[in-house]
Amino acid sequence: MRVLYFAWLRERLDRSEQQVEPPEQVKTVADLINWMAENDEAFALAVEKRSLIRAAINAQIVSHDASLADAHTIALFPPMTGG
């Protein structure tokens, strides 16, 4: 599973993407964030305010409770400031 990062989240983590292989009990975006935070202190700090983290699965915006079934690409990013 590929995880992409954008904007200040990408900068804080110092990477724009990474591969992860979460265990079976990681079923949602929230689960994934929690599991990655458990295993990576820098990640835990960067996503500390969960309300500032937006997510997309396979280039579709989703909420944190969305299922990871069929997910090949997850993106995590701050609130958007386009336009």
Binding site: F6, P78, T81, G83
Partner: protein, 148 residues
């Protein structure tokens, strides 16, 4: 091309001329052009927009389809740049075409309000005080909420 997410400069005037051409059924065209802003009280030297292009195209296509139906538009085009820009450069242009002006205005405002909160672009500005990410604004959330 009705949704364009691009890294190159675009010319607002050329875009509007191409847009209104050959739509003789329409009487009203509204164009919103968003430009890189720099003022004496808040000077910047560059603005960089980061983008997730694949998601941006998906989001803009969906917003555009919704606007076409909701406001009976004959045409709608969204152009959004990413990369590094200078003050005065165009960042975004939204164009709507309708038989009547009210729909064309509402359609363009709707597109801009959604795009501010729902399109995956992130702005970072560089000025005398350094470089910083622009925070999302609650006024943008409110502007979007009025269309719900």
């Amino acid at each position: 091309m009705t949704v364009r997410v691009i890294s190159q400069h675009f010319d607002p005037g050329e875009q509007i001329n191409a847009f209104v051409k050959d739509h003789h059924g329409a009487g009203a065209a509204v164009t919103f052009t968003g430009l890189v802003r720099s003022s004496p009280s808040d000077p910047i030297t560059t603005l960089t927009l980061e983008c997730y292009p694949e998601l941006a195209v998906n989001q803009l296509d969906a917003i555009r389809s919704e606007a076409l139906t909701r406001f009976n538009l004959l045409a709608a085009t969204i152009i959004h740049r990413y990369g590094t820009m200078k003050p005065g450069n165009p960042i975004v242009q939204v164009m709507t075409l309708a038989p009547h002006r009210g729909d064309a205005f509402d359609g363009a405002q709707f597109l801009m309000d959604y795009l501010k909160t729902d399109a995956p672009f992130w702005k970072k500005e560089t000025g005398p005080a350094g470089t910083k990410w622009i925070e999302s604004k609650s006024s943008d959330d409110r502007a979007r909420a009025r269309w719900e």
